[in-house]
């Protein structure tokens, strides 16, 4: 056997020979996500593991993604629908529902902002996606990463890569996407409205809230129970005041560990065949539309409340009803202070904002029920 033959045999056993053009494209996409995470700080906690996961699965011949491979096992957490509710456990432990409980009427704003989901559902159907796919794309408008991943993994897991990337990218872009929509729909006079302070609520209310919300939601939209149930359990840990250890673990170690696995597993769905398609471009466009319609719907209901309350509600807080916490509330604070330097809407915007988390999880449950 000639030495040349041996070299040739060795070459065909390396990944180089099997590397396709699509793989190279996806390596670039993975690199871009890591770049956006590090250099632009776009949701780095997610985009770095997602980008690296994309790189891992686009290096051929490793078998890492095949049955029995490392990523195949990690992906179990998504396939089984466990990871997103565990993230929600941590989110619940981190979330102070006080601003919502102090002004319960703001829950309506969190619900209105979910309108973007349902309008995008129709748009995606019109573009030729089937119902399960359209529902998964539409949930991007809820501006909630774990919810989007949960619903997509249940309904259309071949779209998980582009949907997760779109959801997390738009969350990072909330400060850029929302202000023009808010400004177009409100007058300066409305944006200047100073709202009354958010009053603290009693401990008893804070403890009862997660329990009663779980019971009511689970009865009303049973399919939303995994997400809402874990969200509220985490919140009960926080508010109970006697299980600090559990609350801290849920909002730090546990959520961090799950985030690592969730990110890598989502990244592993970014294969060239499934990502480098026209569908991905349509998903990114539809996701943006969902986001903007959600912001607009929240703001418009805010305007209605402004009229009904005779000018006591700043309509902008409706825009915070998309559940990107706390980015959307920060946007409202910033735009409000620009109109009136003495205007501090942050806490008032947190009410619809945390309501949005509940709202988008319920919307996911409704979509699951409709698709089921």
């Amino acid at each position: 056997m000639s030495i040349l033959r041996i070299i040739a045999d060795f070459f065909t056993s390396t990944g180089f020979a099997a590397l396709s053009l699509g793989n190279i494209g996806m390596l670039a996409v993975g690199g871009l996500l890591i770049y956006l995470g590090i250099a632009r700080k776009y949701e780095p906690l997610l985009l770095i593991p997602i980008g690296f996961g994309a790189i891992l699965v686009n290096l051929p011949l490793s078998g890492i993604q095949e049955e029995g491979g490392l990523i195949w096992y990690i992906y179990f957490g998504i396939r089984s629908g466990i990871f997103p509710p565990l993230i929600f456990l941590g989110v619940g432990a981190m979330t102070d529902f006080g601003p919502l409980l102090s002004k319960p009427q703001t829950f309506l704003l969190g619900a209105a902002a979910q309108f973007g989901i349902f309008s995008t559902l129709l748009g995606a159907k019109a573009l030729g996606f089937d119902f399960a796919e359209a529902a998964s794309i539409a949930i991007i408008g809820g501006a909630d990463g774990p919810t989007a991943i949960y619903l997509t993994s249940r309904l259309a897991d071949h779209l998980l890569g582009p949907i997760a990337v779109a959801a997390y990218s738009y969350m990072a872009l909330v400060p850029i996407i929302q202000p023009p929509v808010i400004r177009a729909l409100t007058t300066k006079k409305e944006r200047m409205v100073v709202m009354s302070e958010v009053k603290p609520v009693s401990r008893r209310v804070r403890i009862l809230f997660p329990i009663l919300t779980t019971i009511a939601t689970a009865l009303l939209v049973p399919a939303a129970t995994p997400l809402i149930g874990m969200l509220m359990l985490g919140n009960l840990f926080r508010e109970a005041g006697v299980v600090d250890r559990l609350s801290k673990t849920a909002q730090n170690e546990l959520i961090n560990i799950v985030t690592i696995f969730l990110g890598v597993a989502v990244g592993s769905k970014m294969s060239a065949e499934e990502f480098l398609t026209l569908k991905t471009i349509m998903i990114i466009g539809l996701g943006l539309a969902a986001f903007m319609v959600g912001t607009a719907a929240g703001t418009l209901l805010g305007k209605l409340m402004y009229v009904i309350s005779k000018g006591k509600v700043n309509p902008m807080i409706g825009a915070a009803g998309v559940s990107a916490v706390p980015m959307a509330a920060r946007v409202v604070q910033k735009v409000g202070q620009k109109a009136n330097p003495g205007n501090f809407l942050l806490m008032n915007a947190m009410g619809p904002n945390v309501a949005g988390v509940i709202g988008s999880a319920i919307a996911a449950g409704v979509l699951l029920a409709l698709a089921g």
Binding site: E197, P326, Q333, Q337, G342, F344, L346, M347
Partner: protein, 161 residues
Amino acid sequence: MKRKVRFELEGKIYEIGVERTGNRLTLTHEGKRYVVSLLPEEAAPKGSPPQSPAQTRPAAAMPPLYPPVASTPSSSAPTAPASAPTAAINSTGALPAPMTGVVKEIKVGPGHTVEEGQVVLIMEAMKMDIDVPSPLAGIVAEVSVKPGDTVNAKQQLMVIH
């Protein structure tokens, strides 16, 4: 508008950049920035030369221009007690915290003249920096908090009148 000013002090020549915005002067010297507020004549503490237009915040705490010391290189103000008119406070101009949060930076000290809308303090809430402007033009009589303090909504941050 930025100007260069040269002067001699104890046999050494200094050249500093001076920039004025409203009643605030930004002095730059060898890469360090010092922000000072101009006080009205009558507010100048006794003993300072009456012809001096610029009164550093609190005079005693202004670091010497040489050597370029590390203290107050930025615009964060020392809140050391000032010889300025702290005596004349009255309860009227209490500036309340707009929300619960942490005091991140205090931009003025007792005795400083502030304009309406001037940012006097920066708070942090929800990992966001929030500018707190002065609701009126006046003189800071008292700063009631320090950086790092957690404050509740409506808690008094400072007194301006």
